[in-house]
């Protein structure tokens, strides 16, 4: 078989046989053949163009609106496995939110010696301006996009908690629309969990953040504007929720510390803002004084309880690759439970012994800056030149608080249609978690795929593509199903 051997493939076993959950998909691909598959891929790409599904990259001094890269072969996960992952993500986000609330208020976690005080002092994402604020529901990180990877051992690990302005959920929903047309026959025959419910759940969550006494709140999505790489998503979410898509200049905070938007009929009150602007740009009165993206007075309005903000300013304190290393301890501390999804083992170069280990073994580790996103600044030990490794060591020694190191994971693969055939390509997975009075996890999430052979960089800004992610129930899962439904499912298969 021409398919290159991967150590851990999501759809195929070691011997190249389809896994049970992927059997229907692989048998369809076999029966239609590669040419037909390529035709369907072309139609999918055309759909993406016509539907205007784009992302923006910054290149050569210009912002370019590019068609969203999509690979037609989905990643599939069995429903029962997904239910365990869901529980693990919910657990993680409850603990993280308790932690953030604690840091900005009582700091019990520090007093109890679980989290080191000097770490907080050095944190670039801690916002002293948020000390003493108690947001509604006690939740700070309402929307998170947690990155998961599967290693050779078949285990899923949490790679990153994205708690600031995680993006990608719009592509989860759009990918599904395209995949449904491409593989209509499979959607008819199998129970694939729908992903469309996300925007309703988000709407419900945002509505719950409205100031006390506001029953029918006006929601707004605050975007940095058309040149932001996730503008498509901001627009998409506003559209699906019937919220206003606003830029900073559309909003003004009145003398009454309430937020208003400028409409054709004067000023109108805004009750809840899903902000997709980083903390530091939110309010020039409090943060960067020359930010043109934000709204002067927004923090005043939020602290006064006159507007709900998601995510809360300062939530990013727990989204830092150093804090990440403490999350398992935080789960134990706040919830008294063992983590359901493990962390990737993480070496903290701020500690002398761990730093020495990292420097001695740098060729076998991935070195990550604590506060960069989008895959920038990452050094992969076994792929870096001697010069790059020396530079990484120097950077670690100059600022040990700002780096962590992890073993080089071998990301699992999924068969992917590339020039020359169907080949294994490495993937990760970003499910989205909504936390409010209750907790919701998208069924599946965004599967990102590194398209060049052997590459582990899945970011769409750096040549990554995407796949639809199917959570399949039926003979593969037992969650929430009656027996008769399972029997029907079994006989239909």
């Amino acid at each position: 078989m021409a398919y290159g051997r991967a150590r851990m493939d999501e759809l195929l076993t070691d011997t190249g046989e389809p896994r049970a959950v992927a059997a229907a998909l692989m048998s369809l691909i076999d029966s239609i053949g590669e040419d037909e598959l390529r035709d369907r891929q072309k139609i999918a790409e055309l759909d993406i163009l016509t539907m205007g599904i784009t992302f923006t990259i910054y290149s050569e001094g210009q912002n370019i609106d590019r068609a969203w890269p999509f690979d037609i072969i989905p990643r599939v996960i069995a429903g029962d496995e997904w239910d365990r992952i869901t529980a693990g993500l919910q657990q993680r986000l409850w603990a993280i939110n308790r932690f953030i609330d604690d840091l900005y208020n009582d700091q019990r976690v520090i007093a109890d010696g679980v989290f080191p005080a000097d770490l907080l002092e050095a944190s670039v994402n801690f916002r002293p301006q948020c000390r003493g604020v108690r947001p509604k529901l006690g939740v700070w990180a309402h929307i998170s996009g947690t990155d998961l990877v599967r290693d050779d051992d078949g285990q899923m690990y949490v790679l990153e908690d994205n708690l600031r302005v995680p993006s990608g959920v719009s592509y989860v929903i759009e990918n599904r629309g395209v995949a449904k047309r491409a593989f209509a026959e499979l959607f008819e025959r199998q129970r694939i969990r729908p992903v469309d419910g996300y925007t309703d759940e988000l709407n419900r969550l945002l509505t719950s953040l409205a100031p006390v006494g506001v029953d029918d709140p006006q929601l707004a999505v605050l975007t940095p504007g058309i040149f932001n790489s996730a503008y498509f998503e901001h627009s998409f979410l506003a559209e699906r929720m019937g919220a206003e898509l606003v830029e900073g200049a559309d909003l003004v905070v009145g003398d009454d510390d309430c937020v208003y938007m400028k409409t054709i009929d004067g000023l109108e009150r805004v009750d809840v803002i899903y902000r997709r602007i980083d903390d530091l740009f939110l309010d020039p009165e409090v943060f960067l004084p020359d930010s043109a993206l934000g709204v002067p007075g927004l923090m005043r309005a939020w602290k006064a309880g006159n507007v709900g903000l998601a995510n809360a300013p300062g939530a990013g304190v727990a989204d830092d690759k150093v804090v990440y290393a403490w999350v398992p301890d935080l789960i134990r501390y706040y919830l008294g439970e063992e983590p359901l999804i493990p962390n990737v083992p993480t070496y903290r170069t701020m500690y002398d012994d761990e730093r020495r280990f990292v420097i001695d073994n740098i060729g076998d580790l991935v070195i990550k800056p604590a506060n960069e996103s989008g895959g920038y600044g990452i050094v992969i030990g076994n792929r870096a030149t001697r010069h790059e490794l020396d530079a990484a060591v120097a950077a670690i020694e100059a600022d040990p608080r700002n780096w962590v190191a992890q073993p080089i994971l071998s990301l699992s693969t999924v068969p992917t249609l590339v020039d020359g055939g169907i080949r294994p390509r490495h993937v990760d997975l970003r499910p989205f978690v909504l936390t409010g009075t209750t907790s919701y996890v998208t069924p599946g999430g965004l599967t990102r795929v590194a398209l060049p052979e052997g590459s582990l960089v899945v970011n769409s800004s750096q040549g990554g593509g995407s796949k639809d992610t199917w959570i399949i129930d039926g003979q593969y899962g037992t969650s929430g199903r009656t027996q008769s439904q399972q029997q029907m499912q079994g006989s239909a298969g």
């Binding site: 163009l49 016509t50 506003a238 559209e239 898509l245 606003v246 200049a249 400028k262 054709i264």
Partner: protein, 316 residues
């Protein structure tokens, strides 16, 4: 939802104007192309007036290798992105504006805009060629019409809808006056008793009507042979024809009455109507039509400013 952001209102208005501009430019070029085909071969019909129509005449130089100006002018109008009045430039501007308002429009409408943009991107470069030209122009008109049909049949009659309509109508009125100002004035000023000329004038007037898709409706309404004065009057003042200037102004009034506190804009609209009334060919006696059209265009520009002042700048 009653809320419409001032910034969104501005982008809807201009997005619609640019789509209409692309469509109207395509209509005008199509009609001119027909006229060239109809002209007797001994008469070398020049393409420069077409560039004048879109206000681009000063920017181009026609080389000796292209005596009629066909390749130069058409290249400039159909494929040159450095020309802000070209069809691709209008489509780009429309998409840029509407990209920031997609959450307020029906999805299908956004898809139609994308389709227009992709079609123009893929085809504009070859559209100067004679065999491909008409197809290209027709397609631009068709997609623009489809977009209007989608909005008409699937969009809530909201303030968003009204701003889109307003943009369409202002641009359409402006383009109709341009067609008359340049093309018609050229014919009227060349008063001649030569029989051949009269016949050709008729052909030219037909072309003027065609360029705003009015020929058939004119014939059904006016009857009898094509007459210059009647054509001008039909395109300016016949309210039942939706592309006449009066028809556009009437529709604008209806749209404005649905928007919040439009009094200031309506006052300017009244002035636009009186400027139009003073430009009736009976009043101007068929002469100085181009100057009269300039007057109407100035009035339309004032209307545009009034809309901006009231709905975009007032909340600041």
């Amino acid at each position: 939802m009653a809320t419409l952001l001032a910034r969104t209102a501005d982008r809807l208005y201009w997005g619609a104007r640019y789509v209409e501009r692309a469509e109207d430019t395509a209509r005008i070029v199509r009609a001119y192309n027909d006229l060239v085909v109809d002209s007797p071969s001994h008469e070398l019909l020049r393409w420069e007036p077409l560039a004048a129509l879109t206000g681009s005449d000063l920017a181009i130089r026609i080389p000796e290798s292209d005596p009629s100006g066909e390749v130069t002018v058409l290249g400039y109008l159909l494929s040159d992105r450095s020309n802000p009045a070209s069809i691709p430039s209008s489509v780009d501007a429309a998409r840029e504006n509407l990209r920031t308002t997609r959450e307020v429009m029906p999805r299908e409408a956004w898809q139609a805009i994308n389709q227009l943009s992709q079609y123009v991107d893929a085809t504009a470069a070859s559209a100067v060629q004679r065999q491909l030209r008409d197809r290209f122009l027709l397609r631009v008109v068709e997609i623009s019409r489809r977009l209007d049909g989608i909005l008409e049949s699937t969009m809530t009659r909201s303030n968003e809808f009204r701003m889109l309509r307003l943009g369409r109508l202002v641009e359409r009125a402006d383009m109709t006056t341009r067609v008359l100002g340049v093309a018609a004035a050229g014919i009227l000023q060349r008063e001649s008793s030569d029989r051949d000329d009269l016949v050709h004038d008729q052909v030219r007037w037909m072309s003027v009507l065609r360029s705003v898709s009015a020929l058939q409706m004119y014939q059904r309404t006016v009857r009898g042979p094509i007459d210059g004065i009647a054509v001008v009057r039909f395109l300016l003042s016949y309210p039942a024809f939706p592309r006449s200037v009066q028809g556009c102004l009437d529709d604008m009034r209806g749209v404005l009455l649905g928007l919040p506190t439009p009094q200031d804009v309506l006052a300017v609209l009244d002035r636009t109507e009186s400027a139009l009334a003073r430009s009736d060919p009976d009043v101007t006696a068929g002469t100085e039509l181009d100057r009269a059209m300039e007057r109407v265009q100035t009035a339309i520009a004032e209307l545009d400013r009034a809309i901006h002042d009231r709905y975009v700048a007032s909340a600041r």
